[in-house]
Symmetry: C2
Subunit: 444 residues, 2 copies
Amino acid sequence: MKILLILALVLTGEIQARPSQSSPLSAEDSDPRKMRWMMGAPPARDKIITQPDSVFFSFPKLRWSVCNLRQFLPTKVIQRDSQRVTVLPIVSEQDRVRFEDRIDALTFPVMDSSEKLTWKESLGRNYTDGILILHRNKLIYEKYFGCLDQDAKHAAMSMTKSVTGLLTELLISEGKINEKSLIRDIIPEIGNSAFADATVRQVLDMTTALQFSEDYSNPKADIWIYSIAASPFPKPKSYKGPNGYWEYLKRVKKAGKHGEVFGYKTINSDMLGWVLTRVTGKPLTELVSEKLWKPMGAEQDAYMTVDGYGVPFAGGGLTANLRDLGRLGLVMLNRGKLYNKRILPASVVEKVMEGGDRARFGSGFPTLKSGSYASQWWSFHNKNEAFAARGVHGQTVYIDPKAEMVIVRFASHPEAKNGKIDPTSLPAYEAVAEFLMSQTSQSH
Amino acid sequence: MKILLILALVLTGEIQARPSQSSPLSAEDSDPRKMRWMMGAPPARDKIITQPDSVFFSFPKLRWSVCNLRQFLPTKVIQRDSQRVTVLPIVSEQDRVRFEDRIDALTFPVMDSSEKLTWKESLGRNYTDGILILHRNKLIYEKYFGCLDQDAKHAAMSMTKSVTGLLTELLISEGKINEKSLIRDIIPEIGNSAFADATVRQVLDMTTALQFSEDYSNPKADIWIYSIAASPFPKPKSYKGPNGYWEYLKRVKKAGKHGEVFGYKTINSDMLGWVLTRVTGKPLTELVSEKLWKPMGAEQDAYMTVDGYGVPFAGGGLTANLRDLGRLGLVMLNRGKLYNKRILPASVVEKVMEGGDRARFGSGFPTLKSGSYASQWWSFHNKNEAFAARGVHGQTVYIDPKAEMVIVRFASHPEAKNGKIDPTSLPAYEAVAEFLMSQTSQSH
């Protein structure tokens, strides 16, 4: 039996578990409760979702699986503080209803289209599983769909990278990592890997020059070798290839010169994960717990998928609660503070807010024409200087400093391409920001 | 590649992952921190613990793995109430020190031996990972060793059965399950399985007559078929056997007549798990959350390992926090109440306290000469009418109603046989009970 675990890739959108259908089911028709996935004892044959990921992570099944990754894969916990939850204040019931009505009715133009949508229509169009809006540190809007509810957790996909990036910036600010260090100076056994002569900053900003072939028809393509390495399942005795994220990183080949162009490649985040654990002696999950989840007063434990050696998937393995990502968004909005408690140094958040080099960013992301990527975060360089963590299938923590707004969305869009989801999302976020800024005279 | 996942069996002691060494390392020398398991980024080759279970669940590695099962296996969460923890009151610091000193110094005779041990010595002898003693609803003694600390979680092994049993008794008391119903009347597709004409009560009390061959040299022995069925990993395409706990249960053969003798077989608990989910429409993990973890105000989420269809392992898959099992112990001690909040009807706990038929119990457990098993709980029928949940490698929730005492212990003894651990455990628990009863004039 050959096990090709491609989860690492589907979670980050580098490949899709299955080519998208020409006309996928609507959000309503693909609702996991309506589909009756995994209901019954046992469920009907055709309602069972199981391994491999080409099954469990294909639409519409993925709409169930995004809330249930741990039942397919080994994981490690990100522990909250068991004794303390930071309450997210909610506006008065009257204001909540008012906000909900007015936001639902907001109309915005779809990007590069003559179509107009209301906010409420966009939720279904984007296969939203959960969404919340925080304004001036208060919860003003919160809705759940599909597999999600307030207590549940959802795959964060590539938003994981932003958490990994934040911890890297934190350790840089603490002097524990020098951003100019070469990876080989921190991890000598990286050997002749392309990462050897990359600086931490280049890895953080994804300006490394890495060969990463995605020729799916070639079984020796990097993408398949990475997938097999990443699989947590027992490998055949005959298997001689790399086992785990870190062994894979040692064999990455160079393609060009570091520091020149932005290239969005998940293995950069895995490299950061290794650096973080090497420097601190702690698994990434423990660091996230210690530096973010516990101080933030998260209301739910989070978790990360792991490889066969228990190494968390730093590039895409996070599953978390929607409100807890709301807390993280507030930390970013308030330059490191959550309700007057300092969680991160202001300089760490300010570094992320700077964004990256827009020229270097190139034109690979048509929906992010004026965007950039740095510190494993996306910047939109719009007039409100919004920035975000983003993950495929529609995940986002969107921070708008000028509108004093955080939007967190979990989604399970049929396509693993945010380029398909941005046109009905980014203008919607801007419309809410406009609306909230127009409310300045009102206090809540 | 052939994957033989034998975890279901090693977790319940029906087989051992590796024959025990003639003279295993002491508790001190096998301390996971001293062994440096999984330390380093990456750990040294010989410090890595990975699949398969014949590696990760063999002593001394198992001393690390018992706290980290989720990183080897898919799991489902048992959610606590995220907003509320029931605080376990602790005696004053002065009393705590006094209790610790006096309990540590207690001396007891090892069962069927001329040896005497102090309580403190017994902790190491039993490879204790965590132990707490509650007296009159207050925490008077708590210690952690090995892989455990107050926030961590540990495999509960066959104590899982007692949780499954408790929920079954609860649904019987609520009239949702009739204990006299035949399994085939609840689950018609059980077909010609041995379980078909067993009553729920017989399954609960393990007086079913089941064929379960454990001839390890025969690849067609039931134990191997069960192991492969239970594995959550993708099965080879050529695989035609049962997949998952429930499919396995359909093919169990009968050996004798139900209701006559006690036979300790894990598949009875799996059968109860299926009944519970069929009757309620909820996975076992959700039931445990709803009926116990949330109402109890547990301080940590717990979790259960699952098969390839996400079905929790009702016979041995639970991992939980020590104090949370302390809360469960108090519910049992106080006939269903935890600090004046009713968690279970008194009749459910009283049914468990009745114990089973001692004649039917037989002589298969030399360390439990006057014991019995009923409702998936063990009764000692000693003068204090103590009863317990028990799991291999030394797990217990031990309730002594007369001494108003609960002891919870997690351990990782090299041998998967409680018969080897009871001689240095059961007399120790009785000695603490005696001591506490002698303290009746003192209040704390």
